[in-house]
Protein backbone atom coordinates (compact mmCIF):
# COMPACT_ATOMS: atom_id res chain seq x y z
CA UNK A 1 0.00 0.00 0.00
CA UNK A 2 1.18 3.48 -0.80
CA UNK A 3 1.87 5.78 2.14
CA UNK A 4 0.48 8.84 0.39
CA UNK A 5 -1.74 8.97 -2.66
CA UNK A 6 -2.78 12.40 -3.91
CA UNK A 7 -5.01 12.65 -6.95
CA UNK A 8 -6.55 15.63 -8.72
CA UNK A 9 -5.68 17.95 -5.84
CA UNK A 10 -6.86 21.52 -6.35
CA UNK A 11 -6.56 24.42 -3.93
CA UNK A 12 -8.48 27.70 -4.29
CA UNK A 13 -8.52 30.82 -2.18
CA UNK A 14 -11.69 32.86 -1.82
CA UNK A 15 -10.94 36.56 -1.49
CA UNK A 16 -13.67 39.21 -1.64
CA UNK A 17 -16.08 36.86 -3.41
CA UNK A 18 -13.52 35.97 -6.07
CA UNK A 19 -12.01 32.51 -6.45
CA UNK A 20 -8.23 32.32 -7.01
CA UNK A 21 -6.88 28.95 -8.16
CA UNK A 22 -3.52 28.31 -6.47
CA UNK A 23 -2.82 24.60 -6.98
CA UNK A 24 -4.16 22.66 -9.94
CA UNK A 25 -4.69 18.92 -10.37
CA UNK A 26 -1.63 17.52 -8.59
CA UNK A 27 -1.10 13.77 -8.77
CA UNK A 28 1.47 12.21 -6.44
CA UNK A 29 2.08 8.82 -4.91
CA UNK A 30 4.72 8.17 -2.28
CA UNK A 31 5.83 4.86 -0.78
CA UNK A 32 7.63 4.33 2.52
CA UNK A 33 11.28 5.36 2.41
CA UNK A 34 10.71 7.48 -0.68
CA UNK A 35 11.67 11.08 -1.20
CA UNK A 36 9.93 13.66 -3.37
CA UNK A 37 11.35 17.12 -3.94
CA UNK A 38 9.20 19.98 -5.22
CA UNK A 39 11.05 22.92 -6.75
CA UNK A 40 9.70 26.09 -8.30
CA UNK A 41 9.60 29.84 -7.90
CA UNK A 42 7.69 31.80 -5.23
CA UNK A 43 3.96 31.83 -5.81
CA UNK A 44 3.97 28.57 -7.76
CA UNK A 45 1.81 26.92 -5.07
CA UNK A 46 4.46 24.71 -3.41
CA UNK A 47 3.64 25.76 0.17
CA UNK A 48 -0.14 25.75 -0.45
CA UNK A 49 0.19 22.17 -1.68
CA UNK A 50 2.14 21.14 1.44
CA UNK A 51 -0.30 22.85 3.78
CA UNK A 52 -3.28 21.23 2.03
CA UNK A 53 -1.86 17.79 2.90
CA UNK A 54 -1.86 18.72 6.59
CA UNK A 55 -5.14 20.64 6.56
CA UNK A 56 -3.50 23.80 7.87
CA UNK A 57 -4.55 26.19 5.10
CA UNK A 58 -6.30 29.44 6.07
CA UNK A 59 -10.08 29.37 6.44
CA UNK A 60 -10.73 30.97 3.06
CA UNK A 61 -9.04 28.06 1.25
CA UNK A 62 -11.04 25.36 -0.57
CA UNK A 63 -9.48 21.97 -1.34
CA UNK A 64 -10.79 19.52 -3.95
CA UNK A 65 -9.53 16.10 -5.02
CA UNK A 66 -8.36 13.18 -2.88
CA UNK A 67 -5.56 12.83 -0.31
CA UNK A 68 -5.14 9.26 0.93
CA UNK A 69 -2.69 8.76 3.80
CA UNK A 70 -2.21 5.04 4.63
CA UNK A 71 -5.42 4.40 2.66
CA UNK A 72 -7.55 6.89 4.62
CA UNK A 73 -8.96 10.04 3.07
CA UNK A 74 -7.57 13.04 4.97
CA UNK A 75 -10.07 15.44 3.42
CA UNK A 76 -12.91 13.60 5.20
CA UNK A 77 -11.20 13.77 8.62
CA UNK A 78 -12.60 16.10 11.29
CA UNK A 79 -10.35 18.45 13.28
CA UNK A 80 -9.74 15.89 16.09
CA UNK A 81 -8.73 13.07 13.73
CA UNK A 82 -6.48 15.46 11.79
CA UNK A 83 -4.70 16.44 15.02
CA UNK A 84 -3.90 12.76 15.58
CA UNK A 85 -2.32 12.53 12.10
CA UNK A 86 -0.21 15.66 12.53
CA UNK A 87 3.02 15.04 14.41
CA UNK A 88 3.20 11.26 14.54
CA UNK A 89 1.75 10.55 11.07
CA UNK A 90 2.83 13.60 9.07
CA UNK A 91 5.39 16.02 10.48
CA UNK A 92 5.72 19.54 9.11
CA UNK A 93 8.88 21.66 9.12
CA UNK A 94 7.73 25.24 8.50
CA UNK A 95 9.62 27.70 6.36
CA UNK A 96 11.10 30.14 8.85
CA UNK A 97 13.11 28.74 11.74
CA UNK A 98 13.50 32.16 13.34
CA UNK A 99 9.75 32.70 13.70
CA UNK A 100 8.71 29.07 14.29
CA UNK A 101 10.43 28.46 17.62
CA UNK A 102 8.90 29.96 20.74
CA UNK A 103 11.14 32.96 21.60
CA UNK A 104 10.40 32.90 25.36
CA UNK A 105 10.98 29.18 26.03
CA UNK A 106 14.32 27.39 26.36
CA UNK A 107 15.03 24.81 23.65
CA UNK A 108 14.81 21.91 26.13
CA UNK A 109 11.33 23.04 27.27
CA UNK A 110 10.16 23.17 23.65
CA UNK A 111 11.29 19.55 23.16
CA UNK A 112 9.54 18.51 26.43
CA UNK A 113 6.31 20.06 25.15
CA UNK A 114 6.47 17.91 22.01
CA UNK A 115 7.43 14.74 23.91
CA UNK A 116 5.11 15.13 26.94
CA UNK A 117 2.37 12.83 25.58
CA UNK A 118 4.66 9.93 24.82
CA UNK A 119 7.34 10.10 27.58
CA UNK A 120 7.51 10.98 31.28
CA UNK A 121 9.80 13.71 32.66
CA UNK A 122 13.01 11.69 33.17
CA UNK A 123 12.65 9.79 29.88
CA UNK A 124 11.95 13.02 28.10
CA UNK A 125 15.16 14.65 29.46
CA UNK A 126 17.23 11.66 28.30
CA UNK A 127 15.51 11.77 24.91
CA UNK A 128 16.30 15.50 24.51
CA UNK A 129 20.01 14.85 25.20
CA UNK A 130 20.01 12.01 22.66
CA UNK A 131 18.19 14.08 20.01
CA UNK A 132 20.62 16.98 20.45
CA UNK A 133 23.53 14.57 20.02
CA UNK A 134 21.90 13.17 16.86
CA UNK A 135 21.61 16.70 15.54
CA UNK A 136 25.31 17.23 16.19
CA UNK A 137 24.64 19.79 18.94
CA UNK A 138 25.96 20.25 22.45
CA UNK A 139 23.77 19.46 25.52
CA UNK A 140 24.03 23.09 26.61
CA UNK A 141 21.77 24.10 23.70
CA UNK A 142 18.81 22.73 25.72
CA UNK A 143 19.25 25.59 28.20
CA UNK A 144 19.42 28.30 25.58
CA UNK A 145 16.75 30.55 24.08
CA UNK A 146 16.25 30.76 20.27
CA UNK A 147 17.75 34.28 20.04
CA UNK A 148 21.07 32.93 21.39
CA UNK A 149 21.42 30.51 18.48
CA UNK A 150 22.40 30.90 14.84
CA UNK A 151 19.92 30.39 12.00
CA UNK A 152 21.63 27.14 11.03
CA UNK A 153 21.28 25.66 14.53
CA UNK A 154 17.66 26.84 14.77
CA UNK A 155 16.94 25.14 11.44
CA UNK A 156 18.43 21.87 12.74
CA UNK A 157 16.44 22.14 15.99
CA UNK A 158 13.22 22.65 14.07
CA UNK A 159 13.87 19.48 12.08
CA UNK A 160 14.76 17.71 15.37
CA UNK A 161 11.50 18.84 16.99
CA UNK A 162 9.52 17.37 14.10
CA UNK A 163 11.65 14.21 13.85
CA UNK A 164 11.48 13.39 17.59
CA UNK A 165 7.93 12.07 17.15
CA UNK A 166 9.24 9.86 14.34
CA UNK A 167 6.51 10.66 11.78
CA UNK A 168 6.00 8.35 8.78
CA UNK A 169 6.19 11.34 6.47
CA UNK A 170 7.94 14.68 6.93
CA UNK A 171 6.97 17.66 4.80
CA UNK A 172 9.77 20.22 4.92
CA UNK A 173 9.05 23.67 3.50
CA UNK A 174 12.34 25.24 2.40
CA UNK A 175 14.25 24.18 5.53
CA UNK A 176 17.57 25.45 4.12
CA UNK A 177 16.46 28.87 2.89
CA UNK A 178 19.05 31.58 3.51
CA UNK A 179 21.50 29.21 5.23
CA UNK A 180 25.19 28.75 4.47
CA UNK A 181 26.53 25.55 2.90
CA UNK A 182 27.69 24.07 6.21
CA UNK A 183 24.30 24.54 7.92
CA UNK A 184 22.50 23.25 4.81
CA UNK A 185 24.56 20.09 4.86
CA UNK A 186 23.79 19.55 8.56
CA UNK A 187 20.05 19.68 7.90
CA UNK A 188 20.20 17.53 4.77
CA UNK A 189 22.14 14.83 6.61
CA UNK A 190 19.35 14.56 9.19
CA UNK A 191 16.79 14.07 6.42
CA UNK A 192 19.03 11.66 4.54
CA UNK A 193 19.41 9.47 7.67
CA UNK A 194 15.65 9.38 8.19
CA UNK A 195 15.02 8.28 4.60
CA UNK A 196 17.85 5.80 4.14
CA UNK A 197 18.24 4.36 7.67
CA UNK A 198 14.74 4.56 9.13
CA UNK A 199 12.79 4.13 5.89
CA UNK A 200 10.67 7.24 6.49
CA UNK A 201 9.29 9.34 3.63
CA UNK A 202 10.01 12.95 2.83
CA UNK A 203 8.45 15.70 0.76
CA UNK A 204 10.93 18.54 0.49
CA UNK A 205 9.96 21.91 -0.93
CA UNK A 206 12.86 24.00 -2.13
CA UNK A 207 14.05 26.33 -4.82
CA UNK A 208 17.65 25.35 -4.20
CA UNK A 209 18.67 22.82 -6.82
CA UNK A 210 21.76 21.77 -4.82
CA UNK A 211 19.37 20.60 -2.11
CA UNK A 212 17.26 18.76 -4.68
CA UNK A 213 20.35 17.05 -6.11
CA UNK A 214 21.47 15.89 -2.66
CA UNK A 215 18.40 13.76 -1.93
CA UNK A 216 17.67 10.50 -3.73
CA UNK A 217 14.24 10.26 -5.30
CA UNK A 218 12.00 12.13 -7.66
CA UNK A 219 11.83 15.83 -8.42
CA UNK A 220 8.74 17.75 -9.48
CA UNK A 221 9.07 21.22 -10.97
CA UNK A 222 6.08 23.44 -10.19
CA UNK A 223 5.04 26.46 -12.19
CA UNK A 224 1.89 28.58 -11.78
CA UNK A 225 0.17 26.00 -9.58
CA UNK A 226 0.85 22.87 -11.57
CA UNK A 227 3.65 20.34 -11.95
CA UNK A 228 5.26 20.96 -15.35
CA UNK A 229 7.94 18.28 -15.20
CA UNK A 230 8.74 15.39 -12.93
CA UNK A 231 11.07 12.45 -12.88
CA UNK A 232 14.19 11.12 -11.13
CA UNK A 233 16.37 13.98 -9.81
CA UNK A 234 19.40 13.32 -12.10
CA UNK A 235 17.15 13.21 -15.18
CA UNK A 236 15.28 16.45 -14.47
CA UNK A 237 18.44 18.33 -13.43
CA UNK A 238 20.59 16.77 -16.14
CA UNK A 239 20.77 17.27 -19.89
CA UNK A 240 17.52 15.34 -20.41
CA UNK A 241 15.23 17.95 -18.88
CA UNK A 242 12.60 18.95 -21.41
CA UNK A 243 10.31 21.66 -20.16
CA UNK A 244 11.35 25.18 -21.23
CA UNK A 245 10.73 26.43 -17.67
CA UNK A 246 13.11 23.82 -16.19
CA UNK A 247 15.68 24.75 -18.84
CA UNK A 248 15.27 28.45 -17.97
CA UNK A 249 15.50 27.65 -14.26
CA UNK A 250 18.78 25.78 -14.80
CA UNK A 251 20.18 28.45 -17.13
CA UNK A 252 19.65 31.11 -14.45
CA UNK A 253 22.16 29.43 -12.11
CA UNK A 254 25.43 31.33 -11.58
CA UNK A 255 27.52 28.26 -12.48
CA UNK A 256 25.66 27.97 -15.81
CA UNK A 257 24.65 30.87 -18.08
CA UNK A 258 23.26 33.13 -15.29
CA UNK A 259 20.52 34.34 -17.64
CA UNK A 260 17.17 35.16 -16.01
CA UNK A 261 13.90 33.83 -17.41
CA UNK A 262 12.32 36.78 -19.28
CA UNK A 263 8.95 38.18 -18.23
CA UNK A 264 6.90 37.29 -15.19
CA UNK A 265 4.49 34.54 -14.20
CA UNK A 266 0.84 34.80 -15.35
CA UNK A 267 -1.56 36.20 -12.76
CA UNK A 268 -3.82 33.90 -10.73
CA UNK A 269 -6.89 34.95 -12.72
CA UNK A 270 -5.23 34.68 -16.14
CA UNK A 271 -4.76 30.92 -15.97
CA UNK A 272 -7.80 29.99 -18.08
CA UNK A 273 -6.57 28.71 -21.43
CA UNK A 274 -3.34 27.68 -23.01
CA UNK A 275 0.03 26.83 -21.52
CA UNK A 276 0.76 28.90 -18.41
CA UNK A 277 4.41 29.37 -19.42
CA UNK A 278 3.58 30.48 -23.00
CA UNK A 279 4.09 34.24 -22.31
CA UNK A 280 7.74 33.57 -21.29
CA UNK A 281 8.56 30.72 -23.64
CA UNK A 282 10.65 31.02 -26.80
CA UNK A 283 9.09 27.85 -28.23
CA UNK A 284 5.47 28.97 -27.76
CA UNK A 285 3.22 28.93 -30.82
CA UNK A 286 -0.51 29.34 -31.53
CA UNK A 287 -1.33 25.89 -30.11
CA UNK A 288 0.39 26.71 -26.80
CA UNK A 289 -1.70 29.86 -26.43
CA UNK A 290 -4.95 28.07 -27.27
CA UNK A 291 -4.67 24.67 -25.63
CA UNK A 292 -3.61 23.66 -22.14
CA UNK A 293 -0.95 20.90 -22.25
CA UNK A 294 -1.36 17.76 -20.15
CA UNK A 295 1.50 15.87 -18.50
CA UNK A 296 2.82 13.25 -20.92
CA UNK A 297 5.46 10.61 -20.54
CA UNK A 298 8.70 11.24 -22.48
CA UNK A 299 10.50 8.19 -21.15
CA UNK A 300 10.11 5.82 -18.24
CA UNK A 301 9.15 7.74 -15.09
CA UNK A 302 9.82 11.12 -16.73
CA UNK A 303 6.78 13.32 -17.42
CA UNK A 304 6.59 16.73 -19.06
CA UNK A 305 3.76 19.23 -19.59
CA UNK A 306 4.79 20.69 -22.95
CA UNK A 307 3.66 20.22 -26.59
CA UNK A 308 7.22 20.66 -27.85
CA UNK A 309 9.08 18.36 -25.46
Amino acid sequence: MKLLDVSGLQVFFEVGGQIFPVVDKIELTLSEGECFVIAGESGSGKSAFAMSLLGILPQNARVRGAILFKGKSLLEFDAKSMRAVRGSGIGYVPQSSSTSLNPVLRIGTQFHHVLRHSLNGAESSKAVTRILQDLGLDDSVALMYPHQLSEGIKGRLLVGLVACLDPMLIIADEPTKGLDTHSKEGILRIFERRVTQRGRSLIMITHDLDVAAWLPGRLGIMYAGEIVEWGPVPVVLGDDCCHPYTLGFLRSLPERDFIPIPGSCVGLLERHTGCRFANRCSRADAVCKRQHPELRRVCEDHWVRCFHA
Partner: protein, 237 residues
Protein backbone atom coordinates in the same frame (compact mmCIF):
# COMPACT_ATOMS: atom_id res chain seq x y z
CA UNK B 1 37.86 54.98 -2.41
CA UNK B 2 36.99 53.22 0.85
CA UNK B 3 39.76 51.79 2.95
CA UNK B 4 39.59 49.80 6.15
CA UNK B 5 42.83 49.65 8.15
CA UNK B 6 43.17 47.04 10.88
CA UNK B 7 39.49 47.27 11.86
CA UNK B 8 38.46 45.68 15.15
CA UNK B 9 34.94 45.42 16.54
CA UNK B 10 34.29 44.10 20.02
CA UNK B 11 30.75 43.44 21.23
CA UNK B 12 30.14 43.52 24.96
CA UNK B 13 27.44 41.14 26.22
CA UNK B 14 25.68 41.11 29.58
CA UNK B 15 25.02 44.00 31.92
CA UNK B 16 27.10 42.68 34.82
CA UNK B 17 29.41 40.08 33.33
CA UNK B 18 30.47 42.36 30.43
CA UNK B 19 31.64 39.46 28.28
CA UNK B 20 33.75 40.79 25.40
CA UNK B 21 33.56 39.13 22.00
CA UNK B 22 35.89 40.15 19.19
CA UNK B 23 33.70 39.77 16.10
CA UNK B 24 35.97 41.61 13.69
CA UNK B 25 39.65 41.09 14.24
CA UNK B 26 42.31 43.12 12.45
CA UNK B 27 40.64 43.41 9.06
CA UNK B 28 42.15 45.53 6.30
CA UNK B 29 40.38 46.02 2.98
CA UNK B 30 40.52 48.47 0.11
CA UNK B 31 37.67 49.12 -2.33
CA UNK B 32 38.41 50.93 -5.56
CA UNK B 33 36.03 52.60 -8.01
CA UNK B 34 33.77 50.46 -10.21
CA UNK B 35 34.76 47.12 -8.79
CA UNK B 36 32.93 44.25 -7.12
CA UNK B 37 34.50 42.66 -4.08
CA UNK B 38 33.21 39.47 -2.54
CA UNK B 39 33.11 38.68 1.18
CA UNK B 40 32.47 35.00 1.81
CA UNK B 41 32.39 32.80 4.88
CA UNK B 42 30.14 30.70 7.10
CA UNK B 43 27.36 32.14 9.27
CA UNK B 44 28.88 33.95 12.22
CA UNK B 45 32.18 34.66 10.43
CA UNK B 46 31.58 38.40 10.77
CA UNK B 47 30.68 39.23 7.16
CA UNK B 48 27.56 41.24 7.95
CA UNK B 49 29.25 43.04 10.86
CA UNK B 50 32.12 44.03 8.56
CA UNK B 51 29.53 45.25 6.01
CA UNK B 52 27.89 47.41 8.68
CA UNK B 53 31.30 48.76 9.75
CA UNK B 54 32.16 49.68 6.17
CA UNK B 55 28.83 51.51 5.85
CA UNK B 56 29.58 53.09 9.26
CA UNK B 57 26.30 51.81 10.69
CA UNK B 58 28.52 50.51 13.49
CA UNK B 59 31.49 52.32 15.01
CA UNK B 60 34.74 50.33 15.01
CA UNK B 61 36.35 49.62 18.40
CA UNK B 62 39.78 50.32 16.91
CA UNK B 63 41.38 50.68 13.51
CA UNK B 64 40.73 53.25 10.83
CA UNK B 65 38.10 53.72 8.15
CA UNK B 66 38.89 56.14 5.34
CA UNK B 67 36.45 57.36 2.69
CA UNK B 68 38.21 59.17 -0.16
CA UNK B 69 41.11 59.91 2.18
CA UNK B 70 38.94 61.35 5.00
CA UNK B 71 38.96 59.52 8.32
CA UNK B 72 35.35 58.58 9.15
CA UNK B 73 36.16 56.06 11.91
CA UNK B 74 34.58 58.10 14.69
CA UNK B 75 32.66 60.66 12.61
CA UNK B 76 29.51 62.10 14.23
CA UNK B 77 26.02 61.49 12.80
CA UNK B 78 25.84 64.97 11.23
CA UNK B 79 29.18 64.46 9.44
CA UNK B 80 28.06 61.00 8.38
CA UNK B 81 24.95 62.26 6.57
CA UNK B 82 26.82 63.08 3.36
CA UNK B 83 28.79 59.82 3.61
CA UNK B 84 25.60 57.78 4.10
CA UNK B 85 24.49 59.02 0.69
CA UNK B 86 27.67 57.72 -0.90
CA UNK B 87 27.95 54.40 0.98
CA UNK B 88 24.68 52.49 0.93
CA UNK B 89 23.65 49.02 2.06
CA UNK B 90 21.12 46.43 0.83
CA UNK B 91 20.06 43.98 3.55
CA UNK B 92 19.41 40.24 3.37
CA UNK B 93 15.75 40.18 4.36
CA UNK B 94 13.76 42.21 1.84
CA UNK B 95 10.56 41.91 3.91
CA UNK B 96 12.06 43.71 6.90
CA UNK B 97 14.02 46.31 4.93
CA UNK B 98 11.03 48.55 4.25
CA UNK B 99 8.52 50.21 6.58
CA UNK B 100 5.47 47.92 6.45
CA UNK B 101 2.94 50.73 6.83
CA UNK B 102 4.28 53.00 4.12
CA UNK B 103 3.20 52.70 0.49
CA UNK B 104 5.86 52.08 -2.14
CA UNK B 105 5.41 55.60 -3.58
CA UNK B 106 6.22 57.15 -0.16
CA UNK B 107 9.09 54.72 0.41
CA UNK B 108 10.64 55.77 -2.90
CA UNK B 109 10.20 59.47 -2.08
CA UNK B 110 11.81 59.08 1.37
CA UNK B 111 15.51 59.18 0.30
CA UNK B 112 14.77 62.06 -2.09
CA UNK B 113 13.25 64.08 0.79
CA UNK B 114 15.89 63.13 3.37
CA UNK B 115 18.76 64.22 1.18
CA UNK B 116 16.83 67.04 -0.53
CA UNK B 117 17.71 65.71 -3.97
CA UNK B 118 14.76 67.17 -5.90
CA UNK B 119 12.07 69.78 -5.32
CA UNK B 120 8.51 68.77 -4.38
CA UNK B 121 7.28 69.24 -7.96
CA UNK B 122 9.90 66.95 -9.45
CA UNK B 123 9.43 64.16 -6.88
CA UNK B 124 6.78 62.28 -8.86
CA UNK B 125 8.88 62.34 -12.03
CA UNK B 126 11.94 61.17 -10.07
CA UNK B 127 9.96 58.28 -8.58
CA UNK B 128 8.80 57.20 -12.05
CA UNK B 129 12.41 57.30 -13.26
CA UNK B 130 13.49 55.15 -10.28
CA UNK B 131 10.80 52.60 -11.08
CA UNK B 132 11.74 52.44 -14.75
CA UNK B 133 15.39 51.95 -13.82
CA UNK B 134 14.69 48.77 -11.83
CA UNK B 135 12.04 47.44 -14.21
CA UNK B 136 8.97 47.80 -11.97
CA UNK B 137 5.46 48.66 -13.16
CA UNK B 138 3.81 51.87 -11.84
CA UNK B 139 1.00 49.71 -10.33
CA UNK B 140 3.27 48.93 -7.36
CA UNK B 141 3.28 52.59 -6.23
CA UNK B 142 -0.02 52.32 -4.36
CA UNK B 143 0.76 49.01 -2.69
CA UNK B 144 2.32 48.17 0.67
CA UNK B 145 5.54 46.08 0.92
CA UNK B 146 3.55 43.04 2.15
CA UNK B 147 1.63 43.05 -1.15
CA UNK B 148 4.80 42.66 -3.21
CA UNK B 149 6.89 39.56 -3.90
CA UNK B 150 10.41 39.27 -2.43
CA UNK B 151 11.97 40.03 -5.83
CA UNK B 152 9.82 43.15 -6.27
CA UNK B 153 10.67 44.42 -2.77
CA UNK B 154 14.38 43.93 -3.42
CA UNK B 155 13.97 45.97 -6.62
CA UNK B 156 12.30 48.75 -4.61
CA UNK B 157 15.22 48.65 -2.14
CA UNK B 158 17.71 48.86 -5.02
CA UNK B 159 15.75 51.76 -6.56
CA UNK B 160 15.95 53.65 -3.24
CA UNK B 161 19.65 53.00 -2.93
CA UNK B 162 20.48 53.92 -6.53
CA UNK B 163 18.49 57.19 -6.40
CA UNK B 164 21.19 58.55 -4.09
CA UNK B 165 23.88 57.90 -6.73
CA UNK B 166 26.14 56.08 -4.26
CA UNK B 167 29.82 55.31 -4.83
CA UNK B 168 29.73 52.04 -2.87
CA UNK B 169 26.87 49.68 -2.14
CA UNK B 170 27.24 46.89 0.43
CA UNK B 171 25.09 43.98 -0.78
CA UNK B 172 24.48 41.81 2.29
CA UNK B 173 23.27 38.53 0.74
CA UNK B 174 20.68 40.41 -1.34
CA UNK B 175 19.22 37.31 -2.98
CA UNK B 176 19.64 34.54 -0.40
CA UNK B 177 15.95 34.80 0.54
CA UNK B 178 14.83 34.95 -3.11
CA UNK B 179 14.28 32.34 -5.82
CA UNK B 180 17.19 31.26 -7.96
CA UNK B 181 15.44 32.45 -11.13
CA UNK B 182 15.00 35.92 -9.55
CA UNK B 183 18.61 35.95 -8.31
CA UNK B 184 19.92 36.16 -11.88
CA UNK B 185 17.49 39.00 -12.72
CA UNK B 186 18.51 41.03 -9.63
CA UNK B 187 22.24 40.63 -10.35
CA UNK B 188 21.78 41.50 -14.02
CA UNK B 189 20.08 44.70 -12.86
CA UNK B 190 22.91 45.45 -10.38
CA UNK B 191 25.59 44.85 -13.01
CA UNK B 192 23.76 47.04 -15.51
CA UNK B 193 23.56 49.83 -12.91
CA UNK B 194 27.30 49.42 -12.22
CA UNK B 195 27.97 49.76 -15.93
CA UNK B 196 25.86 52.95 -16.09
CA UNK B 197 26.97 54.67 -12.88
CA UNK B 198 30.38 53.19 -12.04
CA UNK B 199 29.24 52.17 -8.54
CA UNK B 200 31.36 49.67 -6.55
CA UNK B 201 29.83 46.70 -4.79
CA UNK B 202 30.87 44.72 -1.73
CA UNK B 203 28.99 41.47 -2.18
CA UNK B 204 28.49 39.48 1.05
CA UNK B 205 27.50 35.93 0.24
CA UNK B 206 28.07 32.32 1.15
CA UNK B 207 27.56 31.20 -2.43
CA UNK B 208 31.05 30.79 -3.87
CA UNK B 209 29.75 30.24 -7.40
CA UNK B 210 27.97 33.57 -7.32
CA UNK B 211 31.02 35.38 -6.03
CA UNK B 212 33.21 33.69 -8.62
CA UNK B 213 30.81 34.81 -11.33
CA UNK B 214 30.57 38.47 -10.32
CA UNK B 215 33.58 39.58 -8.30
CA UNK B 216 37.06 40.63 -9.35
CA UNK B 217 38.42 40.06 -5.83
CA UNK B 218 37.23 37.96 -2.94
CA UNK B 219 38.08 37.92 0.77
CA UNK B 220 37.32 34.78 2.74
CA UNK B 221 36.39 35.34 6.37
CA UNK B 222 36.55 33.05 9.37
CA UNK B 223 35.94 34.00 12.99
CA UNK B 224 36.17 37.70 12.28
CA UNK B 225 39.43 37.55 10.33
CA UNK B 226 40.17 37.62 6.62
CA UNK B 227 41.97 34.32 6.15
CA UNK B 228 42.45 34.42 2.39
CA UNK B 229 42.26 36.90 -0.47
CA UNK B 230 41.91 35.86 -4.07
CA UNK B 231 41.61 37.60 -7.44
CA UNK B 232 39.53 36.46 -10.40
CA UNK B 233 41.18 37.63 -13.58
CA UNK B 234 38.11 36.71 -15.70
CA UNK B 235 35.85 39.25 -13.96
CA UNK B 236 36.85 42.80 -14.67
CA UNK B 237 34.22 45.26 -13.59
Amino acid sequence: MLEARRLVKVFVRGHFLRQRRRVIDDVSLRIGPSETIGLVGCSGAGKSTLGKLLARLLEPTSGQLLFRGTDITHAKERELKSIRRKVQIVFQHPQSALHPRMKIADLLKEPLKLHRLVGKQQQQAAVMEMLARVGLHRDVLHRYPAELSGGEIQRVVIARVMALKPCIVILDEPTSMLDISIQAAIFHLLMQLQHETGVSYVLISHDLRLVERLCCRVAIMERGRIVEKREFSTNTS
